[in-house]
């Protein structure tokens, strides 16, 4: 479908004012969808930009980036025989959903390895920089790096997951001027060159956060993954207004001075999440432009999903691989590279929006960074909604202070027992006691973080670290402070209440409930996400 006009001349994102003729609007609803008619004359819908054109020859662009880096020497000149080389790469939390093979990481690392081989470097380690995320399975590593890399390195134990709890595997590099400890994976820290391969799906990713967080452990991460920092990050999607990033950059200073030489590779992808054609392409179109065929596809898909058991729906969605295309690749100096990356990110994601709204709505999809091949549990619903989606702004939040957030998601009381064991306890025990992030942090964070069993599962099973559910809660701390009320449409009532939110069975009910807080006839803004969009609010 190379002739598709959308490919050559993608339209930017825009804001639609809802009137009587506006058709019902699509809401993602976990592994299903809802169509909701929004009130005319006081609602608007923010649409993401159509996918930017991908680079025509990704291999060549990668090669060019490696030999013409920004503010740094060409990669081949950094390679010396006998040197220790470590290649760290973003884990499976990126991109979302996972991309069709070959993954960008595979393309880049293959080239880096070729350069290293040509220079006679044979001490090479590949590390999944997963910080406190769960370990990647063999299948996931194969998907991300390709069989060739996997079979060449894994049997030698030269391709593995970062282990932040390995007592012999971590080093301390020093402290920042704010007294923040910097820790790093020992192999990476002691390498002559650390090449970090990023997949920057949103503007939060990359920069010094990659190495300062991705290869660190609890004692380093806790300095910015906390309530105070997250409340000061307005938003954490906006690198220059984000306390989270300031802290990571301070840690980056320490790495610069006391750590390995870092060669940063960052990449951006376009918004082609659901494809130009195929069963899900309708999700990427604007409702009033749906053809009869689109409508039929959608209705058929929805009927089918309604009839399926959850596990089948989950399986279908988890199997979806996005046809993302590479829009930019840049390498070299961390700071300089990241600024370029941000430009590319914003070019795809930013949509200018005038003024805030009383009520913000969005539909949460089936996936977030922490449930790839897993289950979207209630804590992740909170994190995706109040953390990621709420913070998709630059300037000021889309919703006014004290406003209402209405999200749509089934929010089942379901957890993946292998991936999220500490989440279960956090949700079933701690949230029963309090939902206040500060209190949770003060009373329980340390206990969960240092728990022997959780550490065992993080290291030897495929579990997120014991402290991770706290980070989920902190991610939403800014929104929790800002919002007057949070309502979840179509969610499991018990689970929604446990989160401290209010359940509503229909959008109509939710709007009624919102009017208790923001008065009658409030203004409503719907964030039509995904594909990803970020509101530039003025």
């Amino acid at each position: 479908m190379a002739s598709d006009p959308r490919r050559k001349a993608p339209r930017p994102g825009f804001v639609l004012d809802v009137d009587r003729s506006t058709p019902p609007i699509l809401f993602h609803h976990g592994d299903n969808f809802r169509l909701e008619k929004l009130p005319a004359d006081r609602s608007r819908v923010i649409y993401p930009a159509e996918p930017l054109p991908g680079l025509p020859d990704p291999e060549e662009s990668i090669y060019q980036a490696l030999i013409n880096p920004i503010d740094d020497d060409p990669l081949p000149s950094l390679m010396k025989p006998g040197m220790k080389l470590t290649i760290a790469f973003d884990d499976l939390s990126l991109p979302l959903p996972k991309m069709r093979k070959p993954d960008i990481r595979q393309r880049i690392i293959e080239q880096v390895l070729d350069i290293a081989a040509a220079a006679g470097v044979d001490d090479v380690h590949l590390i999944a920089a997963l910080a406190l995320h769960r370990r990647m399975t063999e299948a996931e590593l194969r998907h991300c790096l390709g069989d060739r890399i996997y079979d060449a390195f894994a049997p030698q134990d030269a391709l593995y997951n970062h282990d932040a709890e390995d007592p012999d595997g971590m080093v301390e590099l020093g402290t920042t001027r704010h007294d923040e400890l910097v820790t790093m994976n020992k192999r990476a820290a002691e390498s002559d060159l650390l090449v970090y391969v990023n997949l920057n799906i949103v503007s939060m990713d990359g920069g010094w956060k990659s190495t300062a967080t991705g290869l660190s452990g609890y004692s380093g991460i806790k300095h910015h993954h906390n309530v105070a920092t997250m409340r000061e990050s307005k938003s954490f999607m906006d690198r220059h207004s984000s306390e989270l990033h300031h802290s990571n950059w301070r840690q980056g200073e320490v790495i610069k001075n006391h750590g390995p030489r870092v060669f940063q590779i960052e990449t951006t992808i376009n918004n082609n999440t659901f494809g130009y054609d195929g069963p899900l392409s309708v999700l990427q179109k604007r409702e009033w432009e749906w053809t009869a065929r689109d409508r039929a596809t959608f209705m058929g898909m929805k009927k089918g999903l309604d009839l399926m058991p959850t596990s089948a729906r989950r399986k279908i969605f988890n199997g979806w691989e996005a046809p993302y295309e590479l829009t930019s690749v840049q390498a070299g100096n961390v700071d300089s590279v990241h600024e370029v990356t941000l430009e590319h990110c914003f070019k795809q994601h930013l949509v200018p929006v005038e003024g805030q709204t009383d009520v913000l709505t969005f539909g949460l999809p089936y996936i977030c960074p922490y449930n790839v091949n897993s289950v979207m549990n209630p804590l992740l619903v909170m994190c995706l909604g109040l953390g990621y989606f709420f913070n998709m702004y630059r300037g000021k939040p889309l919703v006014r202070e004290g406003g209402v957030l209405i999200m749509s998601h089934p929010t089942p009381w379901e957890f993946h027992p292998v991936h999220h064991p500490s989440y279960i306890d956090f949700f079933e025990q701690l949230l029963a006691e309090t939902t206040d992030p500060l209190e949770l942090e003060k009373k329980y964070e340390k206990q969960f973080a240092e728990d022997e069993w959780y550490i065992h599962l993080y290291r030897n099973s495929y579990a997120y670290h014991g402290v991770h559910p706290f980070y989920m809660w902190y991610w939403g701390a800014h929104a929790l402070q800002w919002l007057g009320r949070v309502i979840i449409v179509g969610g499991d009532q018990r689970a929604v209440r446990r989160l401290g939110f209010q359940p509503a069975s229909t959008m109509q009910d939710a709007l009624e409930m919102a009017s208790d807080v923001v008065g009658p006839r409030p203004s409503i803004t719907h964030l039509h996400n995904p594909p990803i969009l970020m509101a530039d609010v003025t």
Binding site: R135, M136, T137, E138, A139, L141, A154, P155, L159, Y160, N161, D163, E165, D166, D168, G169, S311, V375, N377, P412, W413, E414, F415, H416, P417, V418, P421, I424, D425, E428, Q429, E452, W453, I455, H456, L457, R459, N460, S461, Y462, A463
Partner: protein
């Protein structure tokens, strides 16, 4: 007059721990403040005095007097500054004795205490509907004669006059409590005459009945030991316990045998009674008891008081007071719960009940009057009846209407918090009801057998336990029909001539304080405002919607389990911590390195074996494990070790119960030692090590880097599991009474019974019903909703070991 008469006396009372006896003691303490009481009670383990304090004086009947003493001891009839307890200590002697043995089992000291009594009230009886024939004979038939004999030898022993003025050698007056129903099942008037004076009485030799009841016991004991009987009992034990191990089964068989003998004896009593025209063994033995008493009294002045069915108090000590579950209550409770839809009887029939305080008053009036003297001035046994049927009848139909309207207004709630609507009563004949109940029981029996055969656990198994409870209730209901049905058909009118004669001799103050006139009872008020409100409390019926009682209880038990004082928490693995088993882990490990066609072959082969394996497992767990583990012969140790770590994620944690793992961790946090005892292989459970202080698992021996499929020791199952636990506790100086054990199956029974705090987790049917009956904590732990659901446990295929850094275990 009554007060004065009694005040001067020392009074011996038997049966004071019973309903009537407690009321008697209370009234004597309160109404005759200068009297002394000698309470003859079976000493039990704690001794007579302790039983008096615990089983009698703690009853709420004494609340009124206790409060009066707290208020003003002198006004209450005590001494200045005296407490209720001090007054009791001053006036009551607890005397160890038993009407079931000759001489009441009194020693010399006991006889001399009895010698100082002026009066004895014999109210001890076995009233329970299912008491064995020989027990009823011992207590009801021989008891009164024994009391008389004891009074005689006490009188002979007496060296000085009693407080009431009985000279040495002069026997005390015996007031024996009997029952109106000694008249037998018959219609028409039943006057106050000795049983043998009645034209309808079939006179039998009571001594022969005694001998025969002993013989019946011997015969039943004999019959219970025949090989056929023992085999049947063993089968029943296995059905209820499953593979709990030989010692546990043996204990259960013996227990069942004793129960069987008991049932035989109950049946024998019922059969003999009905053959002589009595509604049940109680009435029958009571009748012969009167007969034997009159025959053997030998100079002891005797008065007999016969109440009809004694029910809750009209006014004294407080309206509605009742002790224990009486005759009508279980029937009414079963009706209110919607269990008993019909009860035999004719609506115009009379249900002869009498409030307990009227009976007490009658007994005391007879006691105060003294022995009956005939025309010649000699004492002669006399009978006083106290019943309502003749003068103020409560019609059966009316009673049903009252009960029905009351429960319509105050419904009982079921476990789902829905009010139960009480059925319309249709007054069927006895046979029809019995048939209906029989049919219902057959249905439940069948249901139970089906459930038993299904591999159910947790909540479904609870359903089985509920079914069993339903069956129990039905069985009880059936028992009531069999028993009390006879009473509803008993349309005798008990005459009260002597009672009224006595009543008319009382002065006004006595008539006020010792009301015994049944005409004073206004039945609608009595049923509505007095009896039912107190009865529902006594029966602990759920009268308001609210949280399930059991959930509150579970919460309490959970707190006990998680108390600081506990020392050890021991867990079973399969179905307690994870929903998996040894076959699944074997299949996982075995398929991990197979390609697709081989996997298919493997799966088919294993599936074929399932029935064999299941039946082997049911018969004997350790045989099964030994047989099954032979498959690991020649398995490379190191490879399995690597794979087992991967299996922890893919099988154990995936199928784990998060709440169970949380519970283990809670125990650890509280400082309890945590122990996993499992028949699973050590290599399978080793990755769970960080959860526990210790793991006891099955170990296989290793030769040349491969397993040889032989276990190094008996796998810890059944009683071996108990032994392992006991040894472990010994070794670590832990007290099993402070241990908590979690398990899911009746094969763990020896272990569960050994600890102070057993917990049934996701129990299979047999354990579920045992746990429910014994009041153990029951936990329902489920897999995490959201856990990947794989029907067949096949290891994900790999060409190499798992991705890992270093093993942290």
């Amino acid at each position: 007059m009554i007060r004065e008469q009694l005040n001067s006396k020392r009074i011996a009372v038997t049966g004071s721990t019973g309903f009537l006896g407690t009321a008697l003691v209370e009234r004597l303490l309160r109404a005759a403040p200068d009297s002394q009481l000698v309470l003859i009670v079976r000493p039990g383990l704690r001794g007579a005095q302790a039983r008096v304090n615990r089983d009698i004086l703690k009853n709420d009947a004494f609340d009124r007097l206790r409060a009066a003493f707290a208020d003003d001891p002198i006004e209450a009839g005590g001494q200045a500054g005296e407490t209720f307890d001090a007054m009791c200590a001053r006036r009551i002697i607890g005397l160890a004795g038993d009407v079931g043995t000759d001489d009441l089992g009194l020693d010399d000291e006991g006889i001399s205490i009895l010698a100082a009594c002026d009066l004895a009230i014999h109210s001890a009886a076995t009233v329970s509907f299912d008491s064995a024939l020989d027990d009823a004979v011992e207590v009801n038939l021989l008891g009164p004669g024994r009391v008389a004999a004891a009074l005689r030898s006490a009188a002979a022993r007496r060296s000085e006059a009693t407080p009431g003025g009985l000279a040495p050698g002069e026997p005390a007056h015996l007031v024996a409590v009997s029952t109106c129903y000694v008249a037998g099942s018959r219609r028409g008037k039943a006057p106050e005459q000795l049983v043998d004076e009645s034209p309808f009485f079939v006179d039998v030799d009571w001594r022969a009945e005694v001998t025969n009841s002993h013989q019946a016991r011997k015969d039943a004991e004999q019959a219970s030991r025949t090989p056929q009987r023992l085999t049947a009992l063993r089968e029943e034990a296995v059905r209820s316990l499953g593979a709990a191990g030989t010692p546990a089964i043996a204990a259960r068989v013996e227990n069942l045998r004793q129960k069987w003998v008991g049932q035989e004896m109950t049946d024998a009593g019922r059969a003999r009674a009905s053959s002589l025209g009595f509604p049940d063994a109680y009435a029958f033995t009571k009748a012969l008891g009167e007969r034997s008493l009159v025959e053997c009294r030998d100079g002891v002045p005797v008065s007999i008081v016969r109440p009809s069915i004694i029910e809750s108090a009209l006014a004294e000590p407080k309206p509605g007071w009742i002790r224990g579950f009486r005759m009508a209550e279980p029937v009414i409770a079963a009706y209110a719960r919607g269990l008993l839809k019909e009860f035999p009887g004719v609506p115009e029939g009379v249900i002869d009940v009498i409030p307990v305080d009227l009976v007490v008053a009658t007994i005391l009036a007879v006691a105060a009057r003294g022995p009956h003297l005939d025309a010649d001035g000699n004492d002669s046994p006399d009978v006083t009846q106290i019943a309502s049927g003749a003068g103020n009848p409560l019609k059966y139909g009316e009673l049903v209407d009252h009960v029905r309207s009351w429960f319509t207004e105050h419904p009982v709630y079921d476990e789902k918090n829905q009010p139960i609507s009480v059925p319309e009563w249709s007054f069927p004949g006895r046979g029809r009801v019995a048939r209906q109940l029989g049919r219902a029981r057959k249905g439940l029996d069948l249901g139970e057998r089906v459930l038993d055969a299904l591999p159910l656990r947790g909540r479904q198994a609870e359903f089985g336990a509920e079914l069993e409870e339903k069956k129990d209730q039905l069985e009880r209901a059936n028992g009531y029909v069999e028993l009390y049905g006879a009473y509803t058909e008993c349309e005798a009118l008990y005459q009260l001539d002597r009672m009224y004669e006595l009543w008319n001799t009382l002065d006004e103050s006595d008539q006020r304080d010792f009301c015994m006139d049944p005409k004073t009872v206004h039945w609608p008020t009595y049923v509505h405002d007095i009896h039912l409100p107190s009865m529902v409390k006594q029966a602990r019926l759920k009268m308001a919607p609210g949280s399930r009682q059991s959930s509150g209880r579970n919460e309490r038990l959970r707190q006990q389990v998680l108390s600081d004082e506990r020392q050890l928490a021991v867990f079973d693995l399969e179905n307690t911590l994870i929903a998996s088993n040894v076959v699944a882990s074997y299949a996982w490990l075995a398929t991990r390195h197979l390609d697709t066609p081989d996997r298919l072959r493997f799966t088919l082969k294993t599936l074929r074996e399932v029935p064999t394996l299941l039946s082997l497992d049911r018969a004997d767990r350790s045989d099964f494990l030994r047989y099954f583990y032979r498959r690991f012969e020649d398995a490379p140790v190191e490879l399995l070790h690597d794979d087992s770590l991967e299996m922890m994620s893919d099988l154990l944690i995936t199928k784990s119960f998060p709440a169970a793992i949380r519970r283990v961790r809670e125990h650890r946090r509280l400082g309890h030692r945590t122990l996993l005892i499992t028949g699973a292989l050590r290599l399978v459970v080793e990755p769970l090590k960080p959860l526990f202080d210790d793991i006891v698992a099955a170990d296989m021996s290793i030769t040349d880097g491969t397993y040889d499929g032989q276990l190094t020791a008996v796998p810890p199952t059944g009683e071996a599991r108990y032994q392992t636990l006991a040894d472990y506790a010994d070794e670590h100086g832990l007290d099993l009474r402070q241990a908590v054990a979690y398990a899911d199956s009746s094969s763990d029974l020896p272990m569960l019974e050994a600890v102070g705090f057993p917990v049934a987790v996701n129990a299979e049917t047999k354990l579920a019903s045992i746990a429910r009956r014994r009041g153990w904590l029951i936990e329902h732990w489920s897999k995490s909703a959201g856990a990947p659901n794989r029907v067949i446990p096949i290891g994900p295929h790999t060409l190499r070991g798992p991705i890992r850094n270093r093993r942290a275990v």
